[in-house]
Structures are given as C-alpha cells and as structure tokens.
Amino acid sequence: MKSTRHTWRVAALGLLGATGLLAATAQAQGLDLRLDRLSVEVGALPDHPAADGLARASAAVSAKGASGDWSYALGARMDAASQSGSQHFDRVRLDYTENYLRWQNEQWQVTGGTQNVMWGRVDEISPIDRLSRTDLTHAMIDRLPERRRAVPAIRAESFGDKSKLDVVWLPVFEEAVMPHDRSVWHPVDTVNGRILGIGSLPALVGAQIRRADVDGSGGAGARWTLEGAGFDYGVSLQRARSSQPYYRVLPGATVVLQAVHPISTVLGAEFETEAAGATWRAEMAWSSDNPLTTTGLQYRTARGLAWVVGAEFFPGDSETRVTLQLAGQRIHTAEAVLDRTRMTYLTGEVAHPFAQGRWRADLRFSLGLNDRDNYVNPRLAYTGIDQHELFMAAHLFGGAANTLGGFYRRNDALTVGWQAKF
C-alpha cells in the first residue's frame, strides 16, 4: 500500500516535470504553467509541555492546458514543517495536487486522475463530503479548502438544464494526510495515553501505531443536484471509506493502535435557499458504519446520523459576513462505548473587512453544546497588497478530555504568517 501511494506521488511529480519540458518546448493551446501558492507561518505554543514553537512553509505548482474537447492539469505541492522543543521534528513532504486528463462536450465531462472532489454546501463540517482526502496535519486550524487534498478518481459529470449528475469512483484508496508522529496535532498521544474523541486511556502510554487496510478501492458515490428558482437541492449515495483513520485498540503486552478506515454506506440530502435576508444551507447524512470502541476495548461499527443547518448573512446589510452552523451527530448503539455518540455544535465565522478591504478581522469558532468543547480562532490579516496576505492569529482550545477542544487544550497557539497566490 505504501508503494501505491508512492507510485501516485512519483507519477504526479514526473508528470509535472514533463509538463515543464512541454511548457518550454511546445506551443500547446492555452498551456498555463505557474507557481500557484507560497506560504510561511511560524507560531508559539506557550502552554505545551513538550513543544514551544512550530513553523511551516508550503508551495504549490501547476500546469494546465487544453486542446479541443480535451484538457489536462498537472500539479504538485511541497510542505515543510518543524516543531521545536523536546518533541522536536522536521519534515518535508511532497504530494500531488490535481493531475488529470479531462474530456468534455456540451452535456458530459469525464475526468481521470487526481482531482479535488468536495461535495456538500455547508462550511467547516460537511456530512456528505466523504470522497475527498482529508488533510489532518494541523487538525482543524486551517480553513476547509486547505483541509482537503486531491484524490485519485474517475469522475463523470452530466449536466442538464438546471441539474447535474456527478458520479465518482475512487479506484485507489488514499488515506488522510496525517501529522508527523511527534506533532502536537497528531490525534494520538502515546506519551500521555490520550486519543482524540475518547480522551485519556492509560493503556495507550507507549502504544504502537500501525496502519492497516489502506489497500484497495476508496469507494464510489453518485450525487444529483438541481437548481430551482430560489431553492437548490440534491441527494447523494456513497459507499466509501473514510480517509480519516479510526484507531482500533489491539490489547497485548504492547498495545497496538491499528489505523483503520471503515467503509460506510452514506445517504445524503442537501438544500440551499434564500430567506429572511440570509442564505440557508443544510445537509443531512445517514451512514451505516461509524467506528466505535466499547468499554471492553472491542471495535464496533454502528449506524449514525449527521446533520448541519447553517446560515450566511450580513448584519445590517454591511460588509461583515457571518456564517453560523448548528451541527449534530448521533450514533446509534446499545453498547457501552468510549466514544461520544451524541454531539451538537455551534460553529461559525465572523469576517469583517475594513479600511476599504485592506484589512480583515476574522473570528472562527466551534462551541460544543452538549459537552464543553471550545475552539476560538481570532485572526487579523493585512490584504492591502494584491495577491499577498500577512496575518496574525490565535488558536485557543478548551473542553472536556474526550472532546477535540479538550484533547488540544495545551495547543493554544499564536502565529504570524504570509501567503501569496500567483
């Protein structure tokens, strides 16, 4: 399985190199070779016992071109990360972005290769977004588009007058992009015996983490969406594996945490409309197999329902944009489990541009409504230079031990950074 992923990356990077040669020597129609993005961010972790600072840099390049009904994209990215303190690490990682060949006519579009597949309508937590590859390198502190990566897929899209049918097959499973094992953002803390979503499990101190089940297909899905007058909606059916791992506990002399990616059938519904001065978005997904760990450390799966209702509005018809989402998840099981089976959140963002858009003050947040689980992310950005953004931000966590905010409660961070798009 490791070789499969390696092959995809090598293929993507090889294609990118070939594209560079093509750009230099050929006059393909509409070829567009560019450095897409550069970013640098450094931060302090004032509360963490084993890490005091972090730094990261990222760059992405791409080439796109078209001829007749055919088009292609080639792209790659490089991410470098460093963490200082007793839990120090450095890592440089190459990855593919979009590398595809596409054919299209008036009604159809067929795409083969690595591509972004991001279904859903709501911000931050999208219950029907199951086919994309998750980027967990910094947990949830990045915004949604940065937490999604391209995935190898064969995709056929059929366009009607107001409707669209989107069918996706993932021939190769690709797991989420995970943080370095020593990263403060890793969902398993084998030093203190903690795991994200469950909390403290003393048996996990010194546990080994092993990958499993990362061979085979990633699954498939179909989504049908329709635009109406003032009302858009859609339904979807997926049979797919979660790219995000679940850690199955294998007791023994040395406890092993096996990263599994259970396949699940997901039925989804979504809608989007405009009313009372706001844009309303909602999604609901029923899924057949949600992973759980019993109090006896047995692995189980159970049916579950996730939903989100969100609103986007501009208070006082001003430039301040507010998004609010009420999100919930319920997993149906009669067994005593360590996982949380009822979760309700209020998440959102307030984005306030000022000084004629040269500055922007943002506030993202996620608040647990049935358990104390808080994440607050104030951010101030200078955007007065086109294509560039300078920013400073804080990431503040708090909550019960079995929640996300509680798990990362020592990860409060202050960061400054720069990013540019070209």
Binding site: T273, F313, S318, Q387
Partner: protein
Amino acid sequence: MNRTPFNPMPTPSVAPRRTLLQGGLVVLTASAWPRWARAADDGLALARRVHERPDGQDVTSVVTMTLSQEGSNPRERKMLVYRANDAKGVVSTLIRFTAPADIQGTGLLTVDASDGGTDQWIYLPAMQRVRRVDANRQGGRFVNSDYYFEDLKDRKPAADTHRVVGREKVGDVLCDVLESVPVQADNSVYLKRLSWIDPKSLLPLRLDFFEKRADQPSKRLLITRREQVQGYWTVLDSTLSDLETRHQTRLQVDKALYDRRLPASLFTSRALADERQEREVRP
C-alpha cells in the same frame, strides 16, 4: 436610474421612432398640468427613456477596476462581464475575475427574472463549489470597491419617484438633472440619487448618491469617456468617488462587444464553475 458602467449602457445612435413619438406625446400632455406634476411626469418619462433604451441582446465587456486612495498603492482588478437578455425578459449576468491571482477565476452569476425575482450564485475557486448567495443585498461593497451590491442591479424606474429638477452642464454637455427617490425607503441604501442625463446619449454623465443626508451626497460617479460601439453608446471610463474617504473606484472598459449571440449555456452554474466553458466566448 441606477445603471452603472458595470452594465455598459448602450444607446442607439438614432432613437427608435416609437420612442420619439411617445416622448413628444408626454411633453405635449404634460404642458397643461401643474408644474410639480409636469416635473414628476417628465422625470418618470426620462427615467423610462434611460432605462429602456436598447442595449443589444447581449454585451461582453473587458473591464479594469482600479481602487485608489491617497497614500495607498492602487489595486487593480480585471474582469469579464457578460450580460444577455432573453425573449422572456430574463436578464443574466456573469462576471468573471481574471486578475489578480488571489481572486482569479472567481465568478458571480446573477439571473434577474422578469417578475423582479433574482437568483445569484458565486463560484470560489479555492472551495471549488458553486454557492447560492443572498441576491437581495443592497449595502456591502462589491470586491472592496465603492460600488454597493445595489449599484450593480438593474433598478426598475417604478422603484423610485422621479422629478426633473433642472438643467446643468457637465463639462460641455447641458444635462437634465433628475432626482430619484425610492418609493419604499427600505428597498435602497440611498435616500435619493441625482442624475445628470445627457439628452443625446441618455447616459448619466454624473450621478450623486445620497446615503445619510438628503442635502449632501456621499458618493459621486463621473463618466469621463463614452463612445458609440456598434451603434450603442457605451461608457468606457468612469470614476466613482466616496466623497468622505476620498477612496475612488475607476472602471475602464477595455473592450465592449454587442450582439454576439452569447449561448444560454454561458449563464449556468456549469459555466460559472468551469472557466473553460466561458473561455470559448472570451473576446
């Protein structure tokens, strides 16, 4: 009376005969009325003439928007604006940003139905999602410019009470000064507008916007260059100034092409999300 250079306002070189006849009839009838009533009637007639002047079945514009303020570096946005009218009275507009890179590819699709309803979708390349947005927004600056969302909409003459309040020169052109006050105060961010209408081109050469005080404008639009393109009067250069902050938004139409028979498929969410669909009709 709220058409801005975003929808470059064309006027035929020779107004259709029916329009001329109707205009004459209005003047003749109004002469017997009290002066205030005549001013109002003239105002509505003028507003209608400005709004209803033929502007082609469709228009494609290549636009450069420059945002400037004393003491700050100017910022430039480039965009393509496609607008088409269909036989049912539906007006569709697609705006695609082509520069700078951080907003390149962003698209805004607006469909104004003949019954007054509006649907609007935005495509953000970073999200790779087409999302419905609130089409009823009035305030709020469009891409940090001095244009409010309301300024971009096709405001029907019936939405305001119109009155001709005099004649004044803008440059060398003697213009009719038209006052437009919203019939319903809550359907506009403005208390009123004053438009200096060039009787020849039927373009407002100057437009004052009154937001907080009815006796002091807050924004002023000045048209500095207009030409006939394919027989349609077209605004090629204009500047909208915030009179308080001195921030300015300049719109230069680098190219305008009319009646190209833009396909209906251009005004769909597929074309909004897939630049390639739209590139085929780029000028």
